[in-house]
Symmetry: C2
Subunit: 480 residues, 2 copies
């Protein structure tokens, strides 16, 4: 395919994706295929000769679309939002064409420098303490990671390396410190990726109990640290969450931060979903306490219209992570080393795309106000759904609605709610995913798509009511 | 930005990137900026109000281009090739618009299933043993990772988990096995990411000496294993490389595979660059021995025209990796679990883009023959450059040219060659990166861009000769 053919094909595809997104409500949000639906329709092997573009293009609708869960349907209410915007898709066209791999400054100065500036821009939008920004000309700065899982892992490895270095310098003997003495903390509500990072980094993770609001408190952490120290363990890291996946609960980072500072423990804050909301002054108070943290992470690829992957991680001292990762072959050295960061030291992979172009396009084309409006629309819609639930006594709301997530149940057993959730998804008109909160099977309704409007909330509510009537009737008949 | 504005902007940008790639020879391959060039020109913070598309579009040429190292210039000969093709950029437009996060089958059946089929297609193109493919309906299968670094880390964690499980089952006591007893092997020529994976996974890595061809041999590995076992260590993994970064050397995987089987050690093969060449029957013999490996990795995003990121990893027993990573929250469960793989178990992050679309577009639009031709063109051009070097007695070729990489030196000291390499890059007409081979500072000339042609090789050779004359003259004058 040469540039002439590409110009034509790309324009055809641009029209196709616009039509797809404009008319996405016409498609059921969930597909009706069974496992291995695609294998049956695809050839066993790649073609020997190149095929014409039209064949490939036609197969999108024929083979791919029937197997899609439409994440950007306004009727998708599962998990958390995933970003998708036109400015971001534009930036990715440019990223693809430039195709640079920005592991060092010299590998493309623009790639490194735009990322530094964009992480500063976003840090300022969030009103992060100056120490987290490159503009402070200190040790701080931000880096784009692929996912919050990676951000947690990178942070854990930095903290682990720092803890081992401290221990080594305080030990007179040459004895090696076994990793199994180290312990990190999160809460029972933390994302599964924290437990996973512990598995990978060979670190013990203790998931601490939360209070009645599903919030991890300082005294709980303090007690755990005391217990572990008494056992001869070495606490070195706490991961606090702002906006948990289960229920959008907030750990008390003011209290936790104080304990971490007192105990000289690394505090990492995971605000993967909720972090985007902190660009609105009325939600910024949830971030109070971040000044006591060592690292902070949020995902613009969730709720800030920057397409996956773009997970923003800020570090107060980026050198602590760089030191943990430091490997320096001659083929990666360059003249300006040390004058400006080389991002390869701040991530697990070596290679990296020019992802800050997406941030630049989205921040400029929407502006801060445009992004704030978008966040506020989602929160408003979530409250509208909450208000609908309150009009129907068959439902109970599980946790207070703070941002764009509503957790609720049909009054009744876990079994009933499980059946209910399945019935909703089986109709494929809307899509939700469940959770377990305080031991109870709970439904989660997240406002997800960029184009979700009031009518879509009404549509979903109608589904919930209709299916509730069916399920409760069936349940009544079974009980009889 | 709505779909109407996007249609227009995208078409404008498509034309821009075509013009950029069509006329890329007009730009110096390396930029002339100093660190912080961009910060000085960008506003301190994001705009409050959204800006018009034209402002952003105009800034691409004004602010970004002056800071670009043009990786897809036919005059870029640094590192290794990075893929860039029109079919791949097309696929990314679709990936962006669909915007699904395919961590489980239900999160988008098409995303999981197309990846399974594409990994099988590519596995067949490479003539991988049937056990590595999903179509065998056994334990094997392929997964797209972000980078070879991630593939190595994932594999190391799988192997570590398997080793610990074996030890636990053979120990009668409840004693925990300290990680520092485990040892993995690579060679002194392995990529820095192997050492790095060891740091992350808290595993000791021994880099073994190679033979005169920079190839790791079976007897070297066997000797190391014997030594380590005698010290009470537990060898569990060997990472062999096909096509090293330094010199495109090949470890002897037939010999290594035999030792690994005898010693019950996981063998991982990293063919990040060279792997793409194995789709040509004349190079497939380098892969003989893969049948003894447990995992095999190559990067279509290097030399197979599939844009970054797309690193292909095949496992003979994918469950060994899945078991190492297994964390199973209720919000990720679904009905069809167990019937078909959930890719989240085979990677470090949770989220993942619909990357197999790129493979599908590229494999179909080029066809196997088209991709073979592309590989052969690069190898032919490398040999043409080798032939040019041989005509000039001032140069010596360091290692035999096998694929698209030529390693060579100016006859003389390391200092001379370092000065030479710097002078070449300072002129910004071509770009190369150095290496250290057998302790000597060596130049690497890689054929990289999709559009590199014979005239570009002649252009580069002219640069090398011109600068050699200058440097040797300067050197002579200094010596006098």
């Amino acid at each position: 395919m040469d540039s002439k053919q590409f110009r034509e094909a790309a324009k055809q595809l641009v029209d196709y994706v616009c039509d797809y997104l404009d008319n996405i409500r016409d498609r059921p949000v969930l597909p009706s295929v069974e496992p291995f639906y695609l294998e049956k329709q695809l050839p066993d092997s790649a073609p020997e000769d190149g095929e014409p573009w039209e064949s490939v293009f036609n197969d999108i609708e024929k083979l791919i679309m029937p197997g899609m869960t439409h994440w950007h349907s306004p009727r998708f209410h599962a998990y958390f939002p995933t970003a998708n915007s036109y400015p971001s898709i534009l930036a990715d066209i440019l990223t693809g064409a430039l195709g640079c791999i920005g592991f060092t400054w010299i590998a493309s100065p623009a790639c490194t420098e735009l990322e530094m500036s964009m992480m500063d821009w976003l840090g300022k939008m969030l009103n992060l303490p100056e120490e987290f920004l490159f503009s402070s000309r200190g040790n701080g700065g931000g880096v784009i990671q692929g996912t919050a899982s990676e951000a947690t892992l990178v942070t854990m490895l930095g903290a682990r390396s720092q803890a081992l270095a401290k221990l080594a310098s305080s030990c007179s003997s040459n004895q090696s410190i076994p990793l199994d003495k180290l312990v990190a903390y999160c809460s029972t509500q933390s994302h599964s990726s924290v437990e996973r990072a512990g598995l990978l980094a060979a670190i013990t993770i203790r998931a601490l109990e939360t209070d009645e609001n599903l919030s991890l408190r300082g005294e709980t952490l303090e007690k755990a640290i005391k217990e572990d120290k008494a056992k001869g363990l070495i606490p070195f890291l706490a991961v606090a969450t702002l906006g948990t996946t289960n229920s959008c609960a907030f750990d008390n980072i003011v209290e936790i931060g104080e304990i971490c500072q007192k105990e000289d423990i690394w505090l990492h804050i995971d605000a993967a979903y909720a972090g985007s909301a902190f660009i609105c002054p009325e939600y910024r108070h949830y971030l109070n306490g971040v000044e006591k943290a060592d690292s902070f992470n949020m995902n613009p690829h969730k709720w800030m219209l920057i397409n996956f992957d773009c997970s923003a991680l800020w570090l107060k001292n980026r050198h602590l992570v760089a030191n943990a990762f430091n490997v320096d072959p001659v083929y990666l050295k360059h003249d300006k080393q040390g004058q400006i960061p080389d991002y390869r030291h701040l991530q697990i992979p070596l290679g990296r795309r020019f992802r800050s172009l997406k941030m630049w396009f989205v921040l400029r084309l929407y502006g801060v106000k445009g992004l704030q409006e978008y966040i506020r629309k989602h929160v408003r819609l979530a409250h509208e759904f909450e208000a609908m639930l309150k009009t129907d006594s068959r439902f109970e709301i599980e946790q207070p609605v703070v941002l764009g997530l509503v957790t609720f149940r049909l009054k009744g057993s876990d079994e009933l709610n499980e059946k209910y959730s399945k019935a909703i998804n089986d109709r494929k008109q809307i899509h939700i995913t469940p959770s377990r909160i305080n031991g109870r099977y709970t439904l989660r309704f997240a406002v997800c798509a960029r184009t979700t409007e009031q009518d879509d909330i009404k549509f979903a509510w109608n589904e919930f009511q209709t299916v509730a009537s069916q399920i409760l009737k069936e349940n009544e008949q079974t009980t009889k």
